[in-house]
């Protein structure tokens, strides 16, 4: 196995565990932020799995899954989970509705663009050859939702984690949530940076960025969710719980 198969394989395995863990919490608590995080993390995992698959064989369907879930949708869905956690207002439901609608439009767009099978070369990471598979005119079209979803996700996920970490740090309480949110932000920034480098043509960093994100975000989530001795007696609702 090459490094281009090992890295996304490990990311997929971590994301699978992370997704199951978050969905378990959703089925116990029924809180919408767990649902959106779980769906977003599952999309992240689908993207990583697609990278493993595309390192072994070509499939147009898997390529669409990779770009749609891995490149376009997952950051905004995870970010929407953070928005649900931090803002308990009715308009958050409208944002969720807009996200679902925009996701369906993006899926329709992705399914309608031409894909050049001849542009695929086995052995080259998909992150370094996707521009050769999607014709330039179509690529410019899907770049718009890619950038918008990615930026919205970045603002909500990283901004939300930094805001939560800052609040707990300022109050000098719950150090586990300060550290947990910092780890989540570092992980999200690592994959966001790798994604933007990929847009610039440096796709070789994407798989490493994804692996760092999977590890740091999962550890951050577990750290933030860990009950403290004083909390065990009476749980306190707070960010990234």
């Amino acid at each position: 196995m090459s490094i281009n198969q090992i890295l996304p394989f490990i990311s997929t395995a971590i994301m699978l565990g992370f997704t199951v863990y978050v969905f378990q919490r959703y089925f116990v608590r029924r809180a919408p932020h767990f649902l959106f995080w779980g769906i977003g993390l599952a999309m992240f995992g689908a993207g990583s799995f697609s990278e493993v698959y595309l390192s072994l064989a070509w499939s147009r369907t898997v390529f669409v899954i990779w770009y749609l879930f891995g490149a376009i949708l997952n950051p905004a869905w995870i970010g929407q989970g953070t928005l649900y956690l931090l803002v308990r207002r009715q308009w958050v439901h409208l944002v969720a509705g807009a996200l679902i609608l925009a996701s369906l439009v993006s899926a329709g767009l992705m399914l309608s663009i031409p894909i050049d099978d001849q542009g695929f070369h086995l052995g080259t990471p998909i992150s370094q050859q996707y521009k050769a598979i999607i014709p330039a005119a179509s690529f410019n079209l899907i770049l718009i939702p890619t950038i918008i979803f990615g930026t919205v996700g970045l603002v909500l996920l990283v901004g939300g984690a930094l805001y939560s970490a800052f609040l707990f740090w300022r109050k000098r309480v719950l150090p586990n949530r300060v550290v947990g949110n910092v780890l989540i932000a570092v992980g999200a920034l690592s994959v966001a940076t790798a994604s933007e480098l990929t847009h610039l043509g440096y796709g070789q960093f994407l798989y490493l960025g994804e692996l760092l994100a999977a590890i740091l975000m999962f550890i951050g989530f577990l750290t933030a969710a860990r009950p403290q001795p004083e909390e065990a007696a009476k749980p306190v609702p707070a960010a990234a719980d």
Binding site: L143, I144, I147, I148, G150, T151, L154, V155, V158, G159, L162, A165, F166, W169, K171, R172, V173, L174, P175, N176, V178, V179, V182, A185, V186, L189, A192, T193, E196, H199, L200, G201, Q228, P229, E230, E231, A233, K234, V236
Partner: protein, 52 residues
């Protein structure tokens, strides 16, 4: 229950900790700067200022 009273029941950060007093604030600021840089980069692509 007021936040400050509620906070007394929560675990607190260690006193005089280098990590919590120095490292965490610097890391938060650096990540904020990087986030803004990434947002500006994305806007640059959307507005056509940065060509891919």
């Amino acid at each position: 229950m007021p936040d400050d009273l509620h906070a007394k029941k929560k675990s607190h950060m260690p006193e005089n900790s280098l990590v919590y007093e120095k490292v965490i604030p610097v890391v938060l600021i650096l990540m904020g700067v990087l986030t803004i840089a990434l947002i500006l980069f994305a806007l640059g692509i959307l507005l056509g200022v940065i060509r891919l």
